[in-house]
C-alpha cells in the first residue's frame, strides 16, 4: 500500500516527514484499548512513548513504570518484569530511537519467548526528544524485519487503522512474545505531566502489583 507522507502537527516537529501517516497519540490509545485491567502492566520508554501511554492509561495509573532516562532500558526492564510476573500481561511501549539503541534485546526476548510480553514500538522515524533528527528507520531500517530476524514469531506492522484490530489483539494476548511496529507520522503532542521520581514510581508500581509492603 502506498502511503502518502504528510506532516502532522507543528511545534518542534514542524516540517519533518515520515513514511507513516497515523497520529501517534490516537493510534497508541486505540491499540492499547481498554487498559482498566489490574493484570495489565506497562513499561514505557522516555519522551513520546511515555506520554502516549500515560494519556492512554491515565497519568496517575500505578501499573505503568515510565522511564525518563536510561534510554534503551525499557524492553529489558519489561522482560525482567514479565519473567517475574508470569500471570500478568506486560506491554512495553518504546520508540524507534530507543529500540535502536538496544536492538539486541529483541534477540534476548526471542530466545526466552515469554508468552506474557509484547512490545509496541512507536516509529516516527525521528528522535523527537532531541529535536526531531531523522532516525535510521527513516533511512531504510525496518525494526519489524529485525524482530523477525531475531526469531520473534508474532510480528505485525501497523500502517493503517485497518491493522489496529489484529495488532491490538497481539498486544493483549498471545502465546509467545509479540512485537508491533506502529508506523506514525511526525507530530509532537503535548507531554503528560507525572512525577518523574524513579523511587516514587517504583513504590507505586510495586504496590499495584505486589500489594502494600
Amino acid at each position: 500500500m502506498a502511503l502518502k507522507t504528510k506532516n502532522i502537527g507543528g511545534g518542534r516537529s514542524a516540517g519533518k516527514q515520515a513514511s507513516g501517516h497515523l497520529e501517534r497519540r490516537a493510534a497508541v490509545i486505540a491499540l492499547l484499548g481498554d487498559t482498566d485491567d489490574n493484570d495489565l502492566l506497562f513499561v514505557t520508554g522516555l519522551a513520546g512513548s511515555r506520554s502516549d501511554v500515560l494519556e492512554a492509561v491515565g497519568a496517575d495509573c500505578k501499573r505503568v513504570y515510565p522511564l525518563s532516562g536510561a534510554m534503551g532500558a525499557a524492553t529489558s526492564m519489561a522482560l525482567g518484569l514479565a519473567l517475574a510476573q508470569p500471570d500478568k500481561r506486560v506491554i512495553c511501549v518504546t520508540g524507534d530511537g530507543e529500540l535502536l539503541m538496544n536492538v539486541g534485546t529483541l534477540a534476548t526476548i526471542s530466545i526466552l519467548n515469554p508468552p506474557n510480553l509484547a512490545i509496541l514500538c512507536v516509529d516516527n522515524e525521528h528522535y523527537g526528544e532531541t529535536g526531531f533528527q531523522r532516525s535510521h528507520t527513516g533511512l531504510g531500517v525496518d525494526l519489524a524485519r529485525i524482530a523477525e530476524g531475531c526469531g520473534i514469531q508474532a510480528v505485525r506492522t501497523v500502517i493503517d487503522e485497518a491493522d489496529f484490530d489484529e495488532a491490538g489483539k497481539l498486544l493483549r494476548s498471545g502465546n509467545g512474545a509479540g512485537f508491533v511496529l506502529l508506523k506514525v507520522g511526525v507530530s509532537d503532542p503535548p507531554g503528560v505531566a507525572r512525577n518523574r521520581d524513579a523511587v516514587l514510581n517504583k513504590a507505586w508500581f510495586r504496590e499495584a502489583v505486589l500489594g502494600k509492603a
Binding site: A70, A73, G80, L81, R206
Partner: protein, 170 residues
C-alpha cells in the same frame, strides 16, 4: 568454602531467593551459568550485552523477583549509564564480576577495563566487595545479598584473579 565454591555459590544465591540469572557467556561464571540453564526453577537469561541485564534486574524487582547479573569486568564498561536507573530508583542491584586485567593478567587488551572496573563502578555509586580467596566467597556474597536486596544498594562482588586464576597466554 572449599574448592567447589562455584557450585556452593549457586546454591547460596538460589537459597537467597535469586530467580533470574542474567549473563553474557563467560568462562569465569561457567558453572553458575550452566547450573542456571539446567535449573527449571529459575530463569537463565542470555544477554547480548551486559547493560540489558541491569535493566532486566530493575524489571525483576518491579515484579517482586530477585536477580543477579553475571559478567566479566570488560562488561562493566557496557553497563555504566544504565546504573543511573538503579541508583535513581533505589533498585537493588547485585552483580558478580569475574575479573580480568588484574592479578597476573597476560593479555594486555584486558588491562584498561580491568584496572578501571572498580573506579568506574564506584564513580556510579556501586559498592565493590572484592573476593580473593575461596573461603571468603560465601560470607561476602551473603553480605552482598543483604545489602542489595534489603538495603536496596548497588553491589558488585569482584571475583578477583587471585580467586579464579589468570588465563594462560603462554
Amino acid at each position: 568454602m572449599a574448592r567447589d565454591w562455584p557450585n556452593e555459590l549457586y546454591d547460596q544465591l538460589k537459597a537467597g531467593g535469586v530467580s533470574q540469572f542474567a549473563y553474557v557467556p563467560d568462562a569465569g561464571h561457567q558453572i553458575l551459568i550452566d547450573r542456571s540453564l539446567a535449573d527449571p526453577d529459575v530463569h537463565s537469561v542470555a544477554l547480548t550485552t551486559e547493560e540489558e541485564g541491569v535493566a532486566l534486574l530493575a524489571g525483576a524487582h518491579l515484579g517482586g523477583a530477585k536477580g543477579v547479573l553475571l559478567m566479566q569486568s570488560s562488561g562493566v564498561g557496557n553497563c555504566i549509564n544504565f546504573i543511573s536507573l538503579m541508583k535513581g530508583g533505589n533498585f537493588p542491584f547485585l552483580t558478580l564480576v569475574s575479573m580480568r586485567g588484574d592479578f597476573g593478567e597476560g593479555n594486555s587488551w584486558q588491562i584498561p577495563m580491568g584496572q578501571a572496573t572498580k573506579p568506574v563502578l564506584e564513580a556510579m555509586g556501586v559498592t565493590c566487595l572484592a573476593v580473593e580467596s575461596a573461603p571468603d566467597v560465601a560470607p561476602v556474597v551473603e553480605a552482598a545479598m543483604t545489602m542489595a536486596y534489603q538495603s536496596q544498594m548497588c553491589i558488585a562482588v569482584l571475583l578477583t584473579q587471585r580467586l579464579i586464576g589468570a588465563k594462560s597466554f603462554a
